[in-house]
Amino acid sequence: MTKQQVIDLYFLDARHKVIEVAAFLDRVERAAGKDDFRLKAFRAALGELGGSQREKARRVLLAFSDPTTKPIAEAESKGAVGAWPAKSH
C-alpha cells in the first residue's frame, strides 16, 4: 500500500484512538490521588510515539513489559495488569 492508501484506510480509526488516550489522561489528571505504576508505564509508552524511530508498536510493548529474566518464586495471582510494577521503583 502507498502511504496515502494507509492514511485513507486507518486515519479516522487512529484519530479516534488518540483522542480516547487524551481523554483518559484528562480524566486521570482531574481525579484526586497519585499516579500508580501503570500510569507511569503508560506515560513512558507515550514517549515512544514521537520522532521518526521505527517499530513503535514493539517499543510501546517493551515499555509495559517485565524486563527481568529469572522466574519468580511463586505465582500469587493468575491475572496480568498490563504494566510491570517494579518499573515504578
Binding site: 500500500m1 492508501q5 484506510l9 486507518y10 480509526d13 517499530e55 508498536a57 514493539r58 510493548l61 517493551l62 509495559f64 513489559s65 517485565d66 524486563p67 527481568t68 529474566t69 522466574p71 519468580i72 518464586a73 511463586e74 505465582a75 500469587e76 495471582s77 493468575k78 491475572g79 496480568a80 495488569v81 498490563g82 504494566a83 510491570w84
Partner: protein
C-alpha cells in the same frame, strides 16, 4: 473463503458459533486444553474434561460439517500446584491415541513462576517421549516478553524437541522475531482488547513474512470473536493482499503445521 481455526475453546461457546464458523468457511477447529475460569478441584475434573474434548465436542462440531481436533495438558494457570499437575499429566497418555488428539497443549507459562516452569518441563518431556506436536501459550501483557524467553530456553534445552513441531502462540510485535528465529511456528491471536488486532496482525505478516505463522481467534468464555480469522482475511483484502496469500495464511499454513500429526486429515 476457506479457513482453519487452529485455536478455539469451543466448550465455552454456544452451538450457534459452530454454525457461524461453518457458514464463514471454517473447515476444522482445533481446541487446546484450557483453564475453565476457575481451578478444578482434582485430577478427576481433568479426566472428564479430556473426555469432553475427545468425545462430546467432535460430535457437536460434526453437526455443522466441522472437523474437531484437540490438544491435551493442564493449563499454565493451574500449574502452580505441581502435585495436581503430576496427577493430570499422568492421565494424558491414555488419551493420546484418540482420533482427534493432535498433541500437547496449550502448555507454557502464565506468571513465569518456578512451579509453572517445572510443569512446562514435565509437559515438554511428555511430548518428547510420545513424539507429540506442542502448542505453547505465552503469558499475558507485561509477562509475555519474559515468559516467551523462558519458554524458548526450556525448548532449546531439550534436544529431543524439533522446533518445527512447536507452535508458540499469542505472539506480538515484541516476541514474534525471537520465536521465528528459534525455528518455531508463531501464532497470532486476534482479540478485541488484548493481543493482536487484525490490523496489527497484518502488519506483522507484512514485516516478518508469511512462513511458519498462523492466525487464530482463541475464542473462549471471555471477550473474543470466533469469526476473528475470516474478519482478518477481509481486512487483508482491503489492504490489497490477493486470495492466494490469504489462503496461505488462514488455511495452508495451519494445515501444514497440523498435518505433521497424521491424524489431522481434512478436505
Amino acid at each position: 473463503m476457506r479457513f482453519i481455526e487452529p485455536h478455539a475453546h469451543m466448550v465455552s461457546r454456544v452451538t450457534d458459533d459452530y454454525e457461524r464458523m461453518a457458514v464463514a468457511g471454517c473447515e476444522a477447529v482445533c481446541e487446546p486444553a484450557f483453564w475453565a475460569g476457575f481451578d478444578r478441584s482434582s485430577a478427576a475434573g481433568f479426566f472428564d474434561y479430556f473426555c469432553q474434548l475427545t468425545g462430546h465436542e467432535p460430535k457437536r462440531a460434526a453437526k455443522f460439517g466441522l472437523k474437531h481436533f484437540c490438544w491435551l495438558c493442564i493449563n499454565p494457570k493451574e500449574a502452580e500446584d505441581v502435585k495436581l499437575a503430576e496427577e493430570v499429566i499422568a492421565l494424558i497418555p491414555q488419551f493420546l491415541d484418540r482420533t482427534n488428539v493432535l498433541g500437547i497443549g496449550e502448555i507454557g507459562l502464565n506468571k513465569n513462576s518456578r512451579n509453572e516452569l517445572k510443569v512446562l518441563e514435565m509437559h515438554v518431556d511428555l511430548a518428547a517421549r510420545y513424539n507429540q506436536l506442542i502448542l505453547v501459550h505465552t503469558p499475558h501483557l507485561e509477562d509475555k516478553l519474559k515468559g516467551t524467553r523462558l519458554i524458548l530456553d526450556v525448548l532449546k534445552g531439550d534436544k529431543r524437541i524439533r522446533p518445527g513441531r512447536v507452535i508458540i502462540d499469542h505472539v506480538e510485535e515484541h516476541t514474534v522475531a525471537m520465536v521465528l528465529d528459534a525455528g518455531c511456528w508463531a501464532g497470532m491471536t486476534l482479540y478485541p482488547e488484548t493481543k493482536c488486532s487484525p490490523a496489527r496482525a497484518i502488519d506483522i505478516l507484512e514485516n516478518y513474512g508469511q512462513e511458519r505463522i498462523w492466525l487464530n481467534s482463541a475464542c473462549d468464555w471471555g471477550v473474543s470473536d470466533p469469526l476473528a480469522v475470516p474478519k482478518t482475511a477481509v481486512e487483508m483484502k482491503k489492504r490489497g493482499h490477493n486470495s492466494a496469500m490469504i489462503d496461505k495464511v488462514i488455511y495452508q499454513n495451519p494445515r501444514k503445521f497440523l498435518g505433521q500429526c497424521p491424524k489431522f486429515k481434512i478436505g
